[in-house]
Every structure is written in structure tokens, then in C-alpha cells.
């Protein structure tokens, strides 16, 4: 059976809005970041995302795991880009060297070193702000969207019945996969398997992940087959379906939708006019 994300009603002002309007605002925040590389604009968007996050009455305590995980992934990406200097070559041509840091070792005549430049630093800041905005808006969705409404929200956004229900299931499949992975990890640890002790080259390491990856994947396939059977037995997909929950936009929803549209199209227009390009002081 599929489990759901840890949603609960929080009595926030935003809960009075239609979930589609809230989802679209979060999406417009995420997509708007794609138009800019100016750290000042991106930082502004991140502040707006964090303000929206607070308005939803989400706390650090309940979301800290999600922050730590996504923050770690983002941190790794930004660090790799900074160290290699390859991420920003499309947005800046010249670099002002601030320092050259090198390790006191030589490997086959090569000394590991990194050039710390203003451009690389500000590119890293911009990248962090962009990812921060996307992460903040994305974390909101599972915590604030009622799992009983996933399907009807996507249906209400114009997707066909089957695709909307598939999105509903896909949303719930992610935490279910997480739960299954933990159970498999426990079962394998009880057989002396220790993830932290995996050694060897990259291929050997991938092979050593098989005790975790194979059961989780096959179990997921079996779960999917079970769900398909259960849905077939209750006439899923035989025709146009009724969605028990009825969503209706009200006046204040249109205000939020207007803000979303203004943010997205405004960002698009600003970018087209050359505003918000990469900036270095």
C-alpha cells in the first residue's frame, strides 16, 4: 500500500486558497529562477520563497530531514562547479583571480589546485540561491498539499483522468519507495551488510549496492503490478470518471494566480530585456 507524505492541516492563511493556485505559485517561483544569473535577483526570489514557506506555517523541526538531504545534494553540486570552474563558462568570459589554492602533493606530475576568482565565487552564490529557491518551493509541496487531493489537483490543471491519477500515485510512490528502502536496509543489515564499509573501485561499489537496489526495485515493480490489478478490478479507466472532491477557484485564488503569472511572465520579460544577467561587483 502506498504511504503519503507527512501532510497535516496547519490552520495557515494559505490553506484557504485552492491547492492548484498554491501549486502554481510554487511552480512559478521555481521557474522564474531559470531566467536569471544575477545573485541579487536570485537572492530576492529566495527570500520570497522563504517568506512563502513561513506563511505556510512550516517549521524547521518537521522539515529538517528534507532540508539536510536536499541541502547536501545542492552543496555537492555547487562545490563541484566551483572547484572545476566549468559551470559558469557560458555566463562569463574573463575571470579576476583572487587566490590560487593548491595542495602540497603531486600526482604523476600534476598538483591539484583551484583558482579562486570573483566570477567563480559569485557564480557559486547565484547557483546556491537558485537551488535554494527551488528547494524551498519544492519542500512546500508534499507538506502542504492534501494527499487525498493530488489526483484532482492535476485533473483540475487540465490533465486527463488517467494521467492525473498516475501523478497521484507517483507522488505517493516516492515516500513508499523510501519506506521500502529502509525496510530492505534493515533486512540486509541483519545479514551483516554495512553500507559504510563498501570498498573497491566504482564498478565494485555499484555491485556492492545490489543487496539494496535489487530488492527495492523488484518490490516496487511488484507493488505497481498489485496497484494495477486492484485498480482494474474496480473499473479504473473504463470511461470518464467522477472526482469526488470538487475544486473551485474563488476570488482570492485568482489574486494568487495573478501573482504567479506576473512573477513568471514578468521574469521572462525582464530576462528578454537583458535584466538579471550574471553580475559581479
Amino acid at each position: 500500500m502506498l504511504v503519503t507524505w507527512p501532510y497535516r492541516r496547519r490552520g495557515s492563511f494559505l490553506e484557504t486558497f485552492d491547492p492548484r493556485a498554491r501549486l502554481l505559485f510554487a511552480l512559478s517561483l521555481m521557474l522564474s529562477t531559470l531566467f536569471f544569473w544575477d545573485v541579487r535577483v536570485l537572492a530576492g526570489l529566495w527570500v520570497l520563497a522563504l517568506f512563502y514557506f513561513r506563511l505556510n506555517r512550516l517549521t524547521w523541526r518537521e522539515t529538517r530531514r528534507a532540508w539536510l538531504f536536499t541541502g547536501f545534494v545542492a552543496g555537492v553540486f555547487v562545490t563541484i562547479t566551483f572547484l572545476t570552474g566549468r559551470g559558469g563558462f557560458e555566463v562569463y568570459q574573463t575571470e579576476r583571480l583572487l587566490a590560487r589554492l593548491s595542495l602540497p602533493v603531486t600526482i604523476f606530475g600534476w598538483t591539484p589546485a583551484v583558482n579562486v576568482t570573483m566570477e567563480r565565487m559569485f557564480f557559486a552564490f547565484s547557483q546556491m540561491c537558485r537551488m535554494g529557491t527551488v528547494i524551498t518551493a519544492a519542500i512546500l509541496i508534499p507538506y502542504t498539499l492534501d494527499p487525498t487531493q493530488y489526483g484532482v489537483v492535476f485533473r483540475g490543471l487540465g490533465l486527463p483522468d488517467k494521467i492525473a491519477y498516475a501523478m497521484d500515485l507517483a507522488f505517493r510512490f516516492i515516500p513508499t519507495l523510501g519506506r521500502d528502502a529502509l525496510q530492505t536496509m534493515d533486512a540486509q543489515r541483519a545479514r551483516g551488510y554495512e553500507l559504510e564499509n563498501i570498498r573497491g573501485g566504482p564498478l565494485a561499489q555499484i555491485r556492492r549496492l545490489a543487496p539494496l537496489v535489487v530488492p527495492v526495485t523488484l518490490h516496487a515493480l511488484m507493488t505497481a503490478e498489485d496497484i494495477i490489478d486492484a485498480m482494474d478490478l474496480r473499473a479504473f479507466g473504463v470511461g470518464r470518471r467522477t472526482w469526488l472532491t470538487e475544486l473551485r477557484f474563488r476570488r482570492h485564488d485568482f489574486v494568487l494566480l495573478g501573482l504567479s503569472a506576473a512573477l513568471f511572465f514578468g521574469s521572462m520579460a525582464a530576462a528578454a530585456l537583458g535584466f538579471g544577467r550574471f553580475w559581479v561587483p
Binding site: L169, Q183, A190, G192, A210, L218, A230
Partner: protein, 550 residues
């Protein structure tokens, strides 16, 4: 009047298999009848159900011969929407059936698919929830329901579509005894209200409490018997199907000549050295409330310990604490002279071999041999010893001939045995099993438990103690010398089965329901000195009577 269901010379072979799963099956069911469909694992029950509910041939392709008629019409000519209103299926595991995130939407799911207007759907859902006595669950998230509640919700989703025929596929498999009783009473009520019910269940002793009109018995894909229950009990092999104890008594003359398991499980000794000690242990998940409260107990050398209790009472959590997979919030768990905080899980695996409930959670290797060798390799055993231990473990579970097969190509029962062999090969001192008999038929699991009892209590014991979680009270009284009952996160009983199962308050709190074997044991145990499994008890009683007659 024509029967509501007619199956004539039905044969089906799955596309990927060389042999048919069912062959030449013919029977009919009258409207309003309740039919018990029994048979061992792999006998073709699931295939028959899939043919009746339309998954064959719609979702499962293969070669189909013969005919099935519902109300005189071939259901293959119907669209799925119509078929789903004729035949409703309650799947074996309600977790596999529930698709929506809350009860209201799950019960409404079928009606939404049929395109009913909202007001009619809400009316119908409320009507069905009320009829099943679960109106209070209407707005609950489905994943938070107990096992019994999930089953009622799944059944409500089926009944909402008002099918003429109800197919119930091993509906008792995942329920604790009290929930199983409540489910059977509900099926009986549905039957009395006029539903035609096909109850597929190999726990025949339990199923007969729903008072089916007749029984249908499948063996190796063929119909071996169809008739009333009395005739069924005169014909069925009591070592193959779990039957009420009086049937054992009647059928004993035909069974007595067969070889019987002879492993004696001696009584547990309170003075034996402790292997695991729970020292005032409390535990809760994350920031949630405690789910285990102040557990004080020991697992000792020579124990064959059965852990019983309602779904969600904390049984598995307790064993995960012993394994070090979870750490106590308060108190300590001692394993082999150290607390679980001072050891790694791999280190504890030298003492405790833990077999998880579901094989699909752990099977990964390309061959059974590799799967069974995985644990001892992780523990750093030398190659010669691994070779010998893998062979020994596979022989014990009867799978040495499958050593080069893929674990995923085996039946569920065989997969379960692979998981047990995978843990046995680590040569841990305590063998811990979570629901070792789940998903297997009576004969298979009794043989497996006999093999396990030999491992612990045979002439060359290979483990110091056995621990198993079960809902099956007869299994506990047959194979345990000690019983724990866990309810609401507390250990409410710890003692020999004779003592624990004779206490009405423990039985009530632990949602345990006396079986006919327990009743018979209760009558005679003071004379015998202990509880006995069915074969032994009947042997004792018949021997005594013979002696009296002599």
C-alpha cells in the same frame, strides 16, 4: 433457476509457463450460496479467481479453454465496468487493494470510475461504511489503519459497487485471531443478506466458522472434491489442510500409519543463561509517542519463544530492538554481554539471526546459493566454512536441489525458506523469525517448522534458542515452550503456553481466540502435563482410549 456461476471444463495456461495452472475444472454455484474454496499453495486457487474476476484474460494472457458463465453470460463479452459490478474481489492482502490516501476516497474509488454523480457516491459510501460498522473511519488516512480496519475498508470498496458475487481471497491471512473472527462474522452476515460468496481459504478450521454451504477442494490444478462440509472432512487429508481437531480424531485411523515428527521440545528453563535481556525498555519512532513501554524480559538458552499479539502491538519493534536496528528511548537491551548501543548490527548478527517477514525485502542474488552465502561472507567466515554452512542450511530447508535457481523464480513458500536458510548459514546463536508461516499452506509450514525445531532441539542442536512472531495460536502451542503476549506496547504475559493460553484476561487483551486444538489441550493437559500438537494429542487420546478398551 440457473446457477449464478457456472464453470465448465476450464483450463488455463499462463503464456510464460509450459504447464496449465488449472485443468478441466467444472462446478456451479447457486445464487446466495457460500462456497469454501480450499487447497494447498500452487493448487490453482489464484488462477481460478483471476478467471472469475476478469483479470484473466484481460491482464494475464495465456491459453484459455472451457467456459465460465455468470448469470448465463460469458463475462469475457462484458466490459470491465459491467464485470466489476457482477464480481467483487477482496484480495488476500488488503494493503494490495487499497489505492486511495483516505477511507472515503478509497471506498468511493470504483464508483468514481463508473462515473456516478457525486451526491450518489457519497450516499452509497456512507451506506456501506455504516453497514460494515466503520463510519468512524470515513476520514482517516488509509495507511494509518490497523490490519482488521484495512480489510473492512477494502471490503467496503468492493461492496460499494454492489457486486452479485463476492470473491474473498484468503481474507484471514494477515489478521490477528480476534480480527479474523470479526471478519468471518461479517462474511456470514453478507451471506445471510443474500450475497453469493466464494471464500478461498486454506485455514479451513477458521473458514468453517463462516458456515459455508459447500466446499470445493483443488489439488495440483484440478478439482479434487466438491460437496458439503461433512463429506469434505471425511475426505480431506488432515495433514494437508488445517481442520478442526474433532476431524483429526475421526480421521486418525487413516493417518496413524504415516511417519510423524519426533522432535521433543523440552520445557523452557527459567534458570537457563540469558542470551538477550530487555532492561526496562521503552521506544518510540521519531518524535512520536512511546510504542513500547517498560519491557522487562529475557530470552534464554533453550527457549522456543512464540510472540503473539494484535497487529501493531509492537512485536516486530521489540525484535528490531534486540537486533540493534532500533535503539531504545529509555532502558537497555543486552545481547551477548553488551548493550545494543555498544555493538554494530553486524556484530549482533553473530548472536541473533533475524528472518524478516517478506522475502521480497531481501532477496537479490542471481542464485539461491549466492543468496545464502551472502550473510556468512559479510560476517567474514572462511570460504570452507561458508561452503559447508550454505550446503547445511539448504539441506535443512529442503532446497539444495534449487541451489543454482534464481530466488525470484521460486514459489513464495520456497522464497521464505531461502530467507531462513540465508540466516541459518550465518550460524547465529538465536534464530528469530517474523511470521515464518505467512503465505504458506498448512502442510508446507508444518514441515518447515518441524525442520526448524530439529535445528534447535534435534540430536545436534545448531542454535541455542528459537523466537518466532505469529498470529497462529496452534503453531505457538505446537512449537513453543514459552509464550509472550504483547498488547498496546506492553508485555502482558510471559510463561509456558499452558499457563498463558489458560488465562482468559490475557486471551482477551491479546485478541487471541481459542481454537479447537487449544480447547482439547485445555481439557487434557493436566493429565498429559503439557500442551501437544494435533498428531500427538490425538495419538495420546486414541492410545488412552485403546488402553481403556483393552
Amino acid at each position: 433457476m440457473a446457477p449464478i456461476l457456472e464453470v465448465h471444463d476450464f483450463t488455463f495456461r499462463y503464456a510464460a509457463r509450459p504447464q496449465p495452472a488449472v485443468q478441466g475444472i467444472s462446478f456451479s454455484v447457486e445464487e446466495g450460496e457460500m462456497v469454501l474454496v480450499a487447497g494447498p499453495s500452487g493448487c490453482g486457487k489464484s488462477t481460478l479467481l483471476r478467471a472469475l474476476n476478469g483479470l484473466i484474460p484481460r491482464s494475464y494472457k495465456g491459453d484459455l479453454q472451457g467456459s465460465i458463465r455468470i448469470g448465463g453470460v460469458d463475462p469475457r463479452t462484458w466490459p470491465l465496468a459491467r464485470l466489476s459490478q457482477q464480481v467483487g474481489t477482496l484480495l488476500q492482502d488488503p494493503e494490495r487493494q487499497i489505492v486511495a490516501a483516505d477511507v472515503l476516497h478509497d471506498v468511493a474509488f470504483g464508483l468514481e470510475n463508473l462515473g456516478w454523480p457525486r451526491s450518489r457516491i457519497l450516499e452509497r459510501v456512507d451506506e456501506v461504511l455504516h453497514a460494515l460498522g466503520i463510519s468512524h473511519l470515513r476520514d482517516r488516512p488509509t495507511f494509518q489503519l490497523s490490519g482488521g480496519e484495512k480489510q473492512r475498508v477494502a471490503l467496503a470498496g468492493v461492496l460499494a459497487m454492489a457486486p452479485r458475487i463476492l470473491l474473498l481471497d484468503e481474507p484471514l491471512a494477515s489478521l490477528d485471531p480476534q480480527s479474523a473472527q470479526e471478519a468471518l462474522a461479517l462474511f456470514r452476515q453478507l451471506h445471510q443478506e443474500g450475497h453469493t460468496v466464494l471464500l478461498v481459504e486454506h485455514r479451513v478450521e477458521d473458514a468453517v466458522r463462516a458456515r459455508p454451504d459447500k466446499a470445493l477442494y483443488l489439488e495440483e490444478g484440478r478439482l479434487a472434491f466438491m460437496g458439503d462440509l461433512e463429506a469434505f472432512f471425511e475426505r480431506v487429508d488432515p495433514t494437508a489442510v488445517k481442520v478442526p481437531f474433532p476431524v483429526w480424531l475421526r480421521r486418525w485411523p487413516g493417518v496413524r500409519g504415516r511417519p510423524m515428527p519426533r522432535v521433543e521440545i523440552p520445557p523452557a528453563s527459567p534458570s537457563a543463561p540469558p542470551l538477550v535481556v530487555f532492561e526496562d525498555v521503552s521506544f518510540g519512532y521519531g518524535d512520536g509517542p512511546d510504542v513500547l513501554h517498560g519491557i522487562r524480559a529475557e530470552i534464554r538458552k533453550g527457549d522456543s519463544l512464540a510472540i503473539l499479539g494484535p497487529n501493531g502491538a509492537g512485536k516486530t519493534t521489540l525484535l528490531k530492538l534486540a537486533m540493534g536496528l532500533l535503539k531504545p528511548r529509555r532502558g537497555r537491551v543486552w545481547v551477548g554481554g553488551k548493550t545494543t548501543r555498544e555493538q554494530t548490527v553486524a556484530g549482533i548478527a553473530h548472536t541473533i539471526g533475524y528472518v524478516f517477514q517478506s522475502p521480497s525485502q531481501m532477496l537479490f542474488a542471481p542464485t539461491v546459493w549466492e543468496e545464502v552465502a551472502f550473510g556468512p561472507r559479510n560476517l567474514g567466515h572462511p570460504p570452507d566454512q561458508i561452503e559447508a554452512d550454505v550446503r547445511w542450511a539448504l539441506e535443512l530447508v529442503g532446497l539444495l536441489d534449487q541451489a543454482q535457481s534464481s530466488p525470484w523464480a521460486l514459489s513464495f513458500g520456497q522464497q521464505k525458506r531461502v530467507t531462513i536458510a540465508s540466516v541459518l548459514s550465518m550460524r547465529s546463536r538465536i534464530l528469530v523469525m517474523d511470521e515464518p508461516t505467512a503465505g504458506q499452506d498448512y502442510r508446507s509450514y508444518m514441515r518447515l517448522m518441524d525442520a526448524i525445531a530439529r535445528i534447535a532441539f534435534g540430536p545436534a542442536p545448531a542454535v541455542d534458542a528459537l523466537v518466532f512472531i505469529t498470529h497462529d495460536l496452534d503453531l505457538a502451542l505446537s512449537f513453543a515452550n514459552r509464550v509472550w503476549v504483547v498488547a498496546d506496547g506492553r508485555l502482558i504475559a510471559d510463561g509456558p503456553p499452558e499457563e498463558v493460553f489458560s488465562d482468559p484476561e490475557t486471551m482477551r487483551q491479546g485478541r487471541l481466540v481459542p481454537t479447537s486444538l487449544l480447547e482439547a489441550n485445555r481439557q487434557h493437559w493436566r493429565r498429559i502435563g503439557r500442551f501437544l500438537r494435533a498428531e500427538r494429542l490425538v495419538e495420546f487420546l486414541q492410545g488412552t482410549e485403546t488402553a481403556h478398551r483393552a
